[in-house]
């Protein structure tokens, strides 16, 4: 599974430009689904199992996109100015490397770096250097980059004991959990009609999950996404820690999980002795919010993978939590489910 995670997190795919991720996932899931299609927004949707009178149609969503940036202007000196794709944190930018779709590596720098050592500029104080030293410009006016070109962060996957460190664990780790669950269902058997939706454009406002949910119109929605932790220095008060198991969402900034859905997850975890913790996240939300309010409403919840340093290139998760998330989801989908409809 670590090989799969490495492949996924290192892939290129800012919001709106998920096509490489989509092709990569298509390769990984060959033979694991009964039906597959790409919806108008670009979400990859795979059906496993069939609807009967006694089971549920379930949507499982993990988003393929990652935060990144887009070139907004090439300045007088040939340096690239940019705008954010998703929640870019200025404190993570200086010194970082980005990669464009054509393979060009750019380095992010800040205007007047030493003079502003202790200041945190806004986005327009940063620029990307793609200079090659091949012409007279200090930047590169001939770079094969145009206004409108998107870039993702460029960073390798690292392993440190149980901890996995990489860019874009948000939400490639959710994609990995979904794929691994599909594999596991091959052995366990799938008791429901499950639509694994690898969604797009989550980071810019859940834009992929809502239409996908509209199309699928499920009885139950489950998002797989990262959540923050409260186990670091002076962190916000939050009772989620790395290594303590799958985080079952109770509420976040965008949704309240119906008690029946939360209880279903808790009971399943207890029954199968899967380590879990309850998650209450103050800010932020996931695709589950968009699924919950699609069509005439869908009971929805979220299995969260605890993650430190979300939206940096060092997003850190723990393999114990990742495995627990796979086990929990697989246990739910391979057993009958009762009582999740109206709260």
């Amino acid at each position: 599974m670590k090989q799969l995670i490495k492949k996924l997190v290192e892939a290129w795919g800012p919001s709106g430009y998920e096509h490489h991720m989509r092709e990569l996932i298509k390769e990984e899931i060959k033979g694991l689904y009964d039906d597959m299609f790409v919806d108008p927004m670009g979400s990859l949707i795979c059906r496993v199992g069939t609807k009967t009178d006694s089971n549920l149609r379930i949507m499982v969503a993990a988003h393929m996109d990652e935060i990144g940036l887009m070139v907004s202007h090439i300045d007088r000196n040939g340096f690239l100015r940019f705008t954010n794709i998703g929640g870019l944190m200025p404190s993570t930018l200086n010194g970082n490397r980005v990669k464009f779709e054509n393979g060009v590596i750019g380095t992010i720098a800040v205007e007047n770096m030493w003079g502003k050592m202790y200041e945190l500029p806004k986005l327009d104080g940063f620029y990307i250097d793609v200079s090659e030293g091949l012409n007279g410009d200090s930047g590169n006016k001939n770079a094969p980059i145009q206004v409108g070109d998107p870039a993702g962060f460029h960073r390798t996957f690292e392993e440190r004991g149980n901890r996995l460190v990489a860019k874009s664990m948000d939400d490639r780790i959710g994609c990995a959990v979904a794929i691994e669950t599909m594999r596991k269902l091959k052995q366990l058997g799938c008791k429901h009609e499950v639509y694994f939706a690898f969604t797009v454009q989550e980071e810019v406002g859940l834009r992929g999950a809502r239409p996908a949910a509209h199309g699928i119109n499920p009885d139950l929605g489950i998002a797989l996404d990262v959540t923050g932790t409260g186990d670091t220095a002076k962190a916000d008060h939050m009772a989620v820690a790395l290594g303590k198991g799958a985080a079952i969402k109770v509420r976040d900034g965008g949704m309240i999980v119906p008690p029946a859905v939360k209880n279903l997850m808790v009971d399943t975890a207890e029954k199968h002795k899967i380590p879990y913790q309850l998650e209450i996240l103050n800010g932020g939300t996931t695709d589950a919010m968009a699924i919950q309010t699609a069509q005439s409403g869908v009971p929805s919840g979220c299995i969260s993978i605890p993650c430190r340093y979300v939206h940096t290139v060092n997003e850190t998760v723990d393999m114990v939590d990742v495995q627990a998330s796979v086990d929990l989801l697989a246990a739910m989908l391979s057993n009958p489910i009762e009582g999740v409809k109206p709260v």
Binding site: Y17, S72, H73, F82, T83, Q146, V147, R210, P211, G215
Partner: protein
């Protein structure tokens, strides 16, 4: 193309502040009624219609432009007979002092208050919108209330004129220019498919009409005709180097991304391809500081819609005096028409 060859003057001089688009809607209704079928006004006030195609393609293609404009609303009258007001849509309070406006259905002329230079000392701060009033010459509260009911809309008072053969100035080109483009498409040759036509309401206050229109029409593809900011005046010395890339006269603007949507990559390629084939000048817009358009609401409606925004570069957006190049207008109509004529399902593949 001259100003009188388009509907731009009538459209932009009509009153249509968000939520009160009636005049604009009536004008468009009368103009297109002989060219479309299924002409109807929905609950929100959107004007929807179908332009019959040749039947060669079964694609469901929606083209949208919003009828509403930014403006103001009467919020009360104070003891001196001056009208209190609030902005409808994004209006920079820096442009307010001394503006001419029209109040209510009767278009009562008025002017926004300011302190003349004779009485001003050290007044450099930008005042907030609620510290301004509109003066309609009423000398008491009752006289003003007779002309300005609570909730009445207020528009910029601005005539649409041609500055040169091709450069025009007026209010509300955002988005009456888009409406005028859509009217040209409706009046022109049939497309291979039925064209789903949507003149939307309430874009300026949160894309509210387009969402409902898209749900009713349930298209496969949507093209949003809009305006976008062009700005070519000298920069301040300490202004960060973030020059806006769109320029007046450099052709229609193909959008990559704005704050509400990321363009469908296949549609983007189709527009670039057709522009290249036909040698139509075109440009791209900076995704920085960009607002959102109806594309944001349409794209995520129902099970998702392949969507793109094609804009006209326009100076001084959200003011009484927008400046537009009719050559850009003509090229935008040409580009959208040609691209739609060629559009095939393969352009929509992800």
């Amino acid at each position: 193309m001259a100003l009188q060859d388009t509907m731009l003057k009538q459209l932009s001089e009509a009153a249509g502040v968000s939520g009160a688009e009636d005049e604009v809607r009536q004008l468009i209704y009368d103009t297109i009624k002989d060219h479309v079928t299924d002409l109807r006004v929905d609950t929100m006030g959107n004007l929807l219609a179908v332009k019959k195609g040749t039947g060669k393609s079964s694609l469901k293609v929606m083209v949208a432009a919003h009828m509403d404009e930014v403006g103001f609303m009467v919020t009360g009258v104070d003891g001196e007979g001056l009208i209190k007001f609030a902005s409808v849509g994004g209006i920079d309070p820096r442009i307010l002092p001394a503006l001419r406006v029209h109040v209510g259905k009767d278009r009562t002329p008025g002017v926004i208050t300011w302190k003349p230079i004779h009485l001003s000392y050290k007044e450099k701060d930008v005042k907030k919108t609620d510290s301004f009033r509109i003066d309609i010459g009423a000398d008491n509260k009752g006289a003003a209330e007779g002309k300005a009911q609570l909730g009445d809309r207020i528009t910029f008072a601005s005539e649409t004129i041609a500055l040169t053969d091709n450069i025009v100035r007026g209010k509300a080109f955002d988005d009456r220019a888009g409406c005028a483009e859509l009217i040209e498409l409706v009046k022109g040759d049939p497309f291979p498919f039925d064209l789903l036509v949507a003149f939307t309401v309430q874009e300026e206050i949160g894309l509210r009409g387009a969402k409902v229109a898209a749900q009713a029409l349930n298209p496969d593809v949507a093209i949003v005709l809009e305006t976008t900011a062009a700005h070519e005046v000298p920069q301040d010395e300490d202004e960060p180097d973030i020059t806006t890339v769109t320029k007046l006269g450099h052709g229609p603007v193909i959008t990559y991304m704005d704050k509400a949507s990321i363009a469908h990559p296949g549609l983007r390629k189709a527009f670039v391809r057709v522009a290249g084939q036909l040698g139509i000048p075109h440009q791209f817009r900076s995704p920085q500081y960009a607002g959102g358009t109806d594309a944001g609401a349409i794209q995520t409606s129902m099970a998702g819609v392949a969507t793109i925004t094609i804009s006209l570069p326009c100076r001084y957006l959200h003011s009484p005096y927008l400046i537009l190049d009719l050559n850009d207008f003509q090229n935008a109509v040409k580009l959208v028409r040609a691209t739609l004529m060629q559009l095939s399902p393969s352009d929509l593949e992800r």
